[in-house]
Symmetry: C2
């Protein structure tokens, strides 16, 4: 019994190893979870009940692969308002979270060996999805304002590439936002080199400070940008509901691939989310979430300021779920976490190793601030500071 | 912008063309839908409400890729009882319907060009899922008691094959049940030729007459059988909830692939279905459904008996959703439907063409009897009989 070559690769992506690093007594900055206390449980319960009452005879039946039309209309309206786009419902496909959008895009475009440009670091689940199609990765470093465009251009000049995968808004894992200039430049390069851009943006609505920037899609002149959104971070992950926007020819092919993968997303869930949006102000709900997350982000920045050794760098994200630690070169974060931080301090984070397609950068880490309380942030970051101090400056340990 | 080779193939599978053949005035025997009037809407509404009340704080959060443990325990117990298996919860992965189980199995095993044995005819969605991995198909004809085992053996002797795809219980599209002897023989051949069997069995619980036969999995001695089940046909399709059972090594790899494809299935839906099963007797619900479906099957057999021309053959399935029409050789069902049956009689069915991987058999058709009323069955089959009479015996038309 021989597995396909793709399987051998995907199975070793190490997703499980990372998220297993949380137990009942562990302070986990490793996850990518929303704060469960912010879920609109009562309103969602009411939306499900109302959906049953109002959609008798069709709610539990098959629907269409594209998904429930009124919800797709709402999503189009919302993006048109928010992002000054000009979308119709038929430009949208409902998906199983944004994750399925990555999988379907890879399935649409990638034959074995085809070139994909990814950010370094990037979303580990993106790499896991791409792995199944055995691409050749070209990793372009993330700078403070997004992907290094000079290196992106160089990669496009030197290699045969079909897809650029980017998370422009509050990137997972770094929290970085891509500048307007780079968004425009990326589209121009995609046009020049005949490449598709996959704009994965599940955190876009979660900006705490600063002004929103236009989507990459808003600069798309040739129908080359596939955009992904998700209700996981703004409403609830267990809905498993996301959406995908693409030009008609791409969308038709992606819809056929979705039908082959799982027929369609849950009509029941789509109707309930549509009902929720009829009966509640989603934007007001998001605003309330943002206040809590901003406070948590500030608490983490404040604690980092106080407890990090001077040679540890951290960034100041304007939104999203994560910030990024950079340790001095040569530091092995994976070893530090498994040998010291987790067993001795009961604190976990995501070491950089698995977040790079190249697996070449060891001295970084992702910290999540949304699914931990302020008190836990304070005590956890304090312990992380001590542990890093111990590891970086062992001579000082006995003096504390 | 060049699509992957797999995409070009999948997009042309013709799924849409087939199911588009139903409008408001069309009597459709083409779909594969359950009867929506049989859905337990009130009980399901209550189960969702109770889930919100009892799982506050976790219901809307991420869960695990394997899925909600109590539901997997129930599924294991149910299969152990029904099929004399010895499964534990950890032998089961929740999926987006059985369809995702096909996709994940193909992803696990198939490199481009690898051999897959499929039944002729088979489930069109199975072919669509396999197409994405560009296998080489070997088509083995279905007989009255399942796959032709002599031809199966010959195919295994002559070709490099990695996977046998079979629907042993009330097969889609023919309604055929595979005999016990053939189930045993298939496992022996799989052992001998080092092949995995994918046992796709969404209709297994829907037997109206005769005795249930053991699953193929019950004869599995080497952990080579991956079994798929689904709530779509016994509870509701819009739950998009199915399950997959496989030996530990296979299951671990399939779970990693599921994580890469869509992270996990909806925890909310899994808890609600578990709650439904706590508060209701699923088997009693299925028994009630079976009574209705048996009546519809009998109505269709009765109408076929009365209205079909003598040279049209139809089978007598003991369960499931479908029966199979065989027309004289040379008859082109696809042409008949699009040129005569649909435009002139407003009746639709699924012609055999797309249901064969080889696309070589034109004189068959699938008829669905679950999603049509008895009165519609009577009038629709009467018109189908007239239309076939017109087509097969044009001289007789004026005498009716």
């Amino acid at each position: 019994m021989k597995f396909a070559q793709r399987t051998v690769k995907t199975s070793s992506a190490g997703l499980d190893a990372i998220f297993a690093a949380s137990g009942p007594n562990v302070i986990s900055f490793a996850g990518g979870y929303p704060d469960a206390t912010l879920f609109p449980e009562h309103a969602m319960q009411a939306a499900f009940s109302e959906s049953f009452a109002q959609h008798s005879g069709s709610l539990l039946q098959y629907s269409t692969t594209a998904g429930y039309l009124p919800l797709r209309e709402k999503l189009a309206d919302r993006m048109n308002r928010r992002d000054h786009l000009n979308l119709k419902a038929d430009d949208i496909l409902l998906t199983q979270g944004a994750q399925q959008g990555i999988d379907l895009t890879a399935r649409l475009l990638l034959d074995k060996g085809d070139g994909v440009i990814v950010e370094g670091p990037t979303y580990i689940g993106g790499l896991a999805a791409f792995d199944a199609y055995e691409p050749t990765y070209y990793e372009v470093p993330i700078e403070e304002d997004g992907m290094d465009i000079t290196k992106l251009q160089k990669a496009l000049m030197q290699h045969q590439v079909k897809l650029i995968y980017t998370i422009p808004d509050f990137q997972n894992p770094t929290g970085t936002v891509m500048s307007v200039e780079k968004r425009q430049a990326m589209v121009q390069l995609a046009n020049q080199y005949d490449v598709v851009i996959l704009e994965d943006s599940p955190y876009r609505d979660l900006r705490y400070t600063g002004e929103n920037l236009p989507t990459i899609k808003s600069f798309d002149t040739e129908g080359r940008v596939i955009s992904l959104g998700s209700f996981s971070k703004i409403l609830a992950p267990s809905l498993r509901l996301g959406w995908l926007t693409a030009a008609p020819e791409l969308l038709a092919a992606l819809t056929a691939l979705k039908a082959a993968a799982d027929v369609e997303s849950s009509h029941l869930v789509a109707v309930a989310v549509d009902t929720f949006m009829n009966d509640n102000d989603l934007d007001a709900h998001i605003d309330a979430m943002k206040q809590v997350y901003q406070t948590k982000r500030d608490a983490m920045l404040n604690a980092l300021e106080r407890y990090m050794p001077k040679d540890v760098h951290f960034n100041h994200p304007d939104g999203g779920f994560f910030l990024w630690l950079t340790l001095p070169e040569g530091f092995d974060m994976q070893h530090f976490m498994t040998a010291e931080l987790l067993p001795e301090y009961n604190v976990s984070l995501v070491p950089s190793h698995h977040l790079y397609a190249s697996k070449s950068i060891e001295n970084g880490a992702r910290l999540n601030f949304t699914n931990v309380s302020e008190a836990t942030i304070e005590s956890g970051i304090k312990m992380l500071g001590q542990a890093l101090n111990d590891a970086l400056h062992p001579a000082q340990v006995n003096q504390i």
